[in-house]
């Protein structure tokens, strides 16, 4: 079903003697949204710039639809639509003229096609107004419109939800999922917003200090651990040792005077009963969601081997 359209092979970027991107390899397939996640300055944008040919790589290769961006730039980049950082447009021209401008740089983009993408991103009402009158959300949508003009196989969006309000973020997110599923596009999205990624992506690659730390399916990524419950009790630090002795089957951790217990839902009443019998006041018991954020911190944590903060 899905075929590989983007392939990074041992990509390295050095600026003078400093290694910005260190030996990154991964593949992206059609119909999937690939999240490229990392803190600011980790090398997300640099990697994206190399994929679209704005920057040269020091070694390695990037192959798009079977063509190398290095040796076959024009044929490789033909299949790529992208927004790199902010969607900067010619502010002194109308949205429509901006699209005409980019459409002239491909073969055979009709007026109808331009109208179609304008409709797709919902800019019909304002498309003939100058871009300087647009809100950030509208610019972002115009940016997506220009990236879709030539029906690319690969869509690359660098921080697509940056600076948008919640409604705008949701809109873009639904939109990206739709494009990947309905048009069988490979979408690469970069972000430092973890919650965003979790809702948007099928697979995720974590980059830090220019190195690719991990690539996983989002479900695997988030849901590998069994559920953790947080129990708020009094004198947790004094009681924890006794509790561990009583319930040796579960991992019990003490974090900020709260207990984090790795157990099943059905076990909760038993724990509470035990606490009451021991004369410990129970203030609350709740599911502690193990989110992408936790995993992210875990993966990118510099102190290796140490248990994560959950």
């Amino acid at each position: 079903m899905s075929t590989q359209v983007v392939e990074l092979r041992k990509v390295t970027k050095k600026i003078r003697s400093k290694t910005i991107i260190d030996d990154i390899s991964f593949n992206v397939y059609t119909g999937e949204v690939f999240g490229f996640l990392g803190p600011n300055g980790a090398g997300k944008t640099t990697t994206i710039r190399m994929i679209v040919g704005l920057m040269e790589m020091s070694s390695g290769d990037i192959v798009i639809n079977g063509k190398s961006i290095k040796t076959d730039f024009e044929d490789a980049v033909r299949h790529v639509g992208a927004i790199v950082e902010n969607p900067e447009m010619y502010k002194f021209m109308s949205g429509y003229k901006n699209l005409v401008h980019y459409s002239r740089m491909y073969k055979g983009i009709s007026k109808e096609k331009i109208d179609e993408v304008v409709k797709l991103v919902g800019l019909e009402g304002r498309i003939n107004e100058k871009v300087k009158t647009y809100s950030l959300g509208m610019r972002q949508r115009l940016g997506i419109a220009q990236s879709l003009l030539h029906d690319p196989k690969v869509l690359i969006l660098d921080e697509p939800t940056n600076g948008l309000d919640p409604a705008g973020i949701r809109e873009i997110r639904d939109y990206i999922r739709k494009l990947a599923k309905e048009r069988d596009m490979a979408v690469i999205v970069s972000s430092h917003l973890l919650s965003e990624m979790e809702m948007m992506c099928d697979r995720i690659g974590i980059i830090q200090h220019g190195k690719l730390k991990d690539v996983q399916l989002i479900e695997d990524f988030v849901g590998t651990q069994s559920q953790v419950y947080k129990i708020e009790i009094s004198n947790a630090d004094q009681i924890v040792a006794k509790m561990r002795a009583s319930f040796s089957a579960w991992e019990i951790e003490l974090v900020n005077q709260d207990l984090l217990i790795n157990c099943k839902k059905e076990d909760i009443p038993e724990i509470i009963k035990w606490c009451v019998e021991e004369g410990v006041a129970v203030y609350g018991a709740a599911k502690a969601a193990r989110t992408l954020e936790d995993r992210f911190l875990e993966v990118t944590s510099d102190k290796k081997g140490e248990p994560a903060n959950v």
Partner: protein
């Protein structure tokens, strides 16, 4: 490539500054007309009788020759005398201040204004994309970078020609409305005899010669714009050189021979027509070769650096 140039043209003409420049050119042509009309009104009595005037000038010329004095403007008095005599004999009135030809000849400063605007456009056309941030979306298209840069260079040239066309059409129209048609024949002393030449061809040549330095400076501005991504640097350096380059080179040339290798020592080809090379021993071929060398250096710098560069930030 045609589509790329159309794109550049569209971007150029979507900005108010372009219309301001076009408007200023129209104003400059009108100003040139008004000034020439004013000056010619000061010397009105001249045009009554050109025959008697030429005869008077000839008398003066003869005296100058007798005394072995210098005639003004470095001309050979004997040649001038022969030309005047030829004009009298063949009834060809010389073109005075009231004719279209003199008006056109005196309007060459318009070239500098066009050059100024061409430099401004050349300075912004590459640097602007960087400062707007649009360069990123421009360079991720299936088009080689050198084609994008070439389309921009061609657009600068086309814009220059566009201003030249406006200036030429408007000048000729205003010229024929406000000035006498004059004589379309230009008398030249060549190889010991008088030759009748086309006045129009002469005017075109004067304008071409005057265009060389602004073309070279526009190319340089374009190069700086592409290499340093800074339009203010490009405008600053180019305009500075446009205004002082020629004069400074003239000063240096008085003391040092190497001045002949500088760009501005070679852009004024009309010096060779007048037999007054800036530095002894310079020839027109030498200057043309120097101009071509400078041009290729500017272009090579612009294209190699622009096509190789990483586009960051």
């Amino acid at each position: 490539m045609f589509n790329l140039i159309r794109n550049e043209w569209m971007k150029l003409f979507s900005r108010p500054a372009t219309y301001v420049m076009t408007g200023l050119i129209v104003l400059a042509v009108i100003a040139a007309t008004v000034i020439t009309l004013f000056i010619s009104s000061l010397g009105e009595e001249q045009s009554d009788n050109w025959q008697s005037q030429l005869q008077a000038e000839n008398a003066q010329l003869e005296q100058t020759i007798e005394n072995g004095e210098e005639w003004f403007a470095g001309q050979d008095p004997e040649e001038q005398l022969a030309i005047n005599q030829y004009a009298l004999d063949n009834n060809i009135p010389p073109n005075d201040m009231n004719t279209v030809w003199t008006y056109l000849e005196n309007s060459t400063f318009l070239i500098s204004i066009i050059g100024l605007f061409a430099i401004i456009v050349a300075s912004g056309i590459v640097a602007g994309e960087f400062s707007w941030g649009t360069i990123k979306l421009l360079m991720i298209r299936p088009i080689a970078r050198w084609k994008i840069l070439l389309s921009k260079f061609i657009t600068v040239g086309a814009f220059g020609l566009f201003l030249v066309a406006i200036t030429a059409v408007l000048s000729v129209i205003l010229g024929f409305i406000f000035f006498d048609p004059g004589s379309s024949v230009r008398l030249v002393f060549e190889d010991g005899q008088i030759v009748e030449k086309s006045m129009a061809a002469y005017i075109v040549r004067v304008y071409l010669f005057n265009s060389i330095d602004v073309i070279m400076l526009t190319t340089m501005a374009f190069m700086i714009s592409a290499v340093f991504r800074s339009s203010s640097l490009a405008i600053g350096i180019s305009l500075f050189l446009l205004f002082v380059g020629g004069t400074a080179t003239g000063f240096i040339a008085v003391y040092y021979d190497w001045a002949k290798y500088s760009l501005f020592a070679n852009t004024n080809l009309s010096l060779y027509e007048m037999n007054m090379p800036l530095v002894e021993g310079m020839t027109m071929q030498f200057s043309i070769i120097m101009i071509l060398i400078y041009f290729s250096v500017f272009m090579t710098l612009a294209f190699t650096i622009f096509t190789k560069r990483d586009i960051a930030s």
